[in-house]
């Protein structure tokens, strides 16, 4: 909270785009300074540090195409959540029920496919719709009662997680694991939008031409880009565009920066916040759909603590917990850093007992380094 004023004074948004003028009250600053001042790019320094660390300590296979994909797959799933969480945080609210929503949406999706035998398209549509409604309900409760979103969505964290358990037991007749989804959707044309790899043909071609590594049987080691990565990148770009270039983006910043002032200026704060809650829930549902289709099953623990990781990624990426400041690209890099550190450690020889110590230290170092570089470059105090 102490950082509000501080950020204000160092990161005038988009100084980069300002036309240079001759004003004796302005100093000339280097391009590096201008870039580092963008909240989007603050997290890059940390990413570079982390990459260097792994370059020095990790197995070479981490830096192959296949290695990159093994890191990007989890990072992208987290990232989809992180981008939505970042938007919501910029809008001044939290959603702690994201993780439970992943599990619950997974259940709904699975039940629609298996118990009700719906086609994939209907199941996806209904799952997204349903999650959106739950998200909007969350938002409406927060707005009407003016309770902190922390406590309201926390209640939903428990409720949705509990309902998932009850629902799973009902759907499976007593188990907490719902299986058989792969076979239920085997030949749906929509499948390739939400599961498996994209650009498979291209990668096959690359492999044939010896551009990328192959297994002994001639198949490429990497058969494509996981679709979740495509979603992740697309969402990051879309969210960035919305934040920086649209009316909605302006409203999100305003609603999070000072809801009263925003309301007084005519911003429909309640509508903005409700939409953001719905969006976050939909992002959780999207992740649920992707993971359920990929795994072919769902269980009561899916998405456990993902809300937490999403918030971590958003904060690493420079979002303020108090709202009104942050970026989608930052959350993108935050998710990549988090994914990189947590998967990357498996490529090193550190004993797994030390895993958490490393995870914590790397996160701290990455953020400290971001901060250090930014201050250094922008010449701030």
């Amino acid at each position: 909270m102490a950082t509000l004023e501080h950020k204000a004074s160092v990161a005038p948004e988009q100084t980069v785009s300002a036309a240079p003028k001759a004003d004796e009250r302005m100093r000339q600053v280097s391009l590096a300074t201008q870039i580092m001042r963008r909240p989007e790019l603050g997290a890059v320094a940390g990413l570079v540090l982390v990459v260097i660390f792994f370059f020095l300590t990790a197995d070479r296979s981490m830096f192959t195409l296949a290695g990159a994909m093994t890191i990007l797959a989890p990072a992208s799933q987290l990232g989809i959540l992180a981008i939505a969480a970042a938007l919501l945080m910029i809008g001044g609210e939290f959603d702690l029920s994201i993780g439970s929503m992943v599990a619950f949406a997974g259940l709904v999706f699975g039940v629609l496919l298996i118990n009700f035998g719906q086609p994939l398209s209907i199941a996806i549509l209904l799952t997204l719709l349903f999650s959106g409604v739950v998200g909007a309900v969350n938002g409406q409760i927060v707005i009407r009662t003016r309770l902190p979103s922390f406590i309201v969505t926390l209640a939903f964290l428990f409720i949705l997680r509990g309902l998932t358990l009850v629902g799973l037991k009902w759907a499976t007749g007593g188990s907490t694991q719902l299986r058989g989804i792969s076979s239920a959707v085997a030949d749906s044309p929509l499948l390739h939008l939400f599961s498996g790899q994209a650009f498979e043909g291209f990668f096959l071609w690359l492999a044939r031409n010896g551009v990328i590594e192959t297994f002994d049987n001639g198949l490429p080691k990497v058969t494509g880009v996981p679709v979740s990565v495509i979603w992740f990148i697309a969402l990051a770009l879309l969210a960035t565009w919305v934040l920086l270039r649209t009316r909605t983006g302006n409203w999100i910043f305003a609603a999070g920066g000072d809801p009263n002032a925003a309301r007084n200026s005519g911003v429909p704060v309640n509508r903005v916040k409700t939409s953001l809650f719905a969006l976050t829930a939909c992002a959780a549902a999207l992740v649920a759909i992707i993971t359920v289709l990929d795994a072919g099953s769902t269980d009561a623990r899916r998405g456990f603590q993902k809300e937490f990781e999403a918030i971590i990624a958003a904060v690493i990426g420079g979002c303020l917990l108090t709202g009104g400041y942050g970026s989608a690209i930052g959350a993108f890099f935050g998710a990549v850093i988090f994914g990189l550190v947590s998967i990357g450690l498996t490529y090193t020889r550190f004993d797994s007992d030390w895993f958490q110590v490393f995870l914590g230290s790397m996160l701290l170092l990455a953020v400290l380094f971001n901060n250090f570089i930014r201050r250094r470059v922008t010449g701030e105090r």
Partner: protein
């Protein structure tokens, strides 16, 4: 009282009461503003001027009382309603987001968009240009329209709020102590604006503690005291000294003024 009673006032409130828990902020206040008229709202600190303004602009809802816009009773649930009804306000606390840029604050809530639906976006270049321009008109030469409002000086910030309210025009312009932090040049610009706006046929409600400013632009003067109306006077009925005495709420200004050579 007022000379304009024949026309339907644009805004009229009757017997407005506002309680905050046990605190009574307004206790039966009535005012009215007609088109092309500047109403000055005067009164001591804590008299309830801002509370009244917030009610007119939809930011708070009255505990009881009537509120008519162009003769029709209204019940604003949010400032957006008031804006839609043509009431633009400069709040005393300015209603700015410190972390956002000048341009973004300027257009907040009324962003102009271009392009077709899925690609509808804000033309930031145009917005920046408008902002720089409007600020220049009011007498502020901003360095960069993307500077965060939180890092502007107090007066610069106030100018953004005023320029915004004036730019977006309206039927009624409400200004809550708009000149409190302004420099000499900026202040005269604002007074000039009020004059222009009035000429265009808008109604203006202007709050100030500066008698000279009030007397310079005001047509009528409503004085509040401790949550109640002390009375409404048109310019022809009352002298500057009388206004000043009313504003001070009958405190012994004479003695004070004597010490300081009447410079207040």
């Amino acid at each position: 009282m007022a000379a304009t009673a024949a026309r339907t006032p644009i805004i009229e409130v009757r017997d407005i009461v506002k309680h905050y828990g046990s605190i009574i902020a307004l206790n039966g206040v009535s005012i009215e503003v007609s088109a092309g008229e500047v109403l000055c709202l005067l009164g001591d600190n804590g008299a309830g001027k801002s509370t009244l303004i917030k009610m007119l602009s939809g930011a708070v809802r009255p505990t009881s009382g009537e509120f008519l816009v162009e003769g029709q009773p209204v019940d604003f649930v949010s400032p957006r309603d008031a804006l839609d009804a043509g009431i633009a306000t400069v709040f005393q606390d300015l209603a700015m987001i410190p972390l956002m840029s000048i341009t973004r604050n300027f257009f907040m809530g009324r962003e102009p968009v271009s392009g077709f639906w899925p690609f509808r976006h804000i033309d930031m270049k145009h917005c920046n240009a408008v902002t720089r321009d409007e600020m220049h008109k009011i007498g502020i030469d901003i360095r960069d329209p993307n500077q965060a409002v939180g890092t502007l000086s107090g007066g610069e910030r106030q100018c953004v709020a005023i320029a915004r309210a004036v730019y977006f025009g309206a039927k009624v312009l409400i200004l809550d102590e708009p000149t409190s932090a302004l420099g000499v040049a900026q202040t005269s610009m604002v007074l000039k604006y009020i004059h222009q706006v009035q000429q265009k046929g808008l109604g203006v409600i202007f709050i100030t503690h500066n008698v000279r400013h009030a007397y310079a632009v005001g047509d009528r003067f409503t004085v509040l005291n401790r949550g109640q109306t002390l009375g409404t006077f048109s310019k022809s009925e009352i002298s500057m000294e009388e206004v000043q005495n009313l504003m001070a709420g009958g405190k012994e200004l004479q003695t004070l003024s004597a010490d300081l050579n009447g410079t207040i």
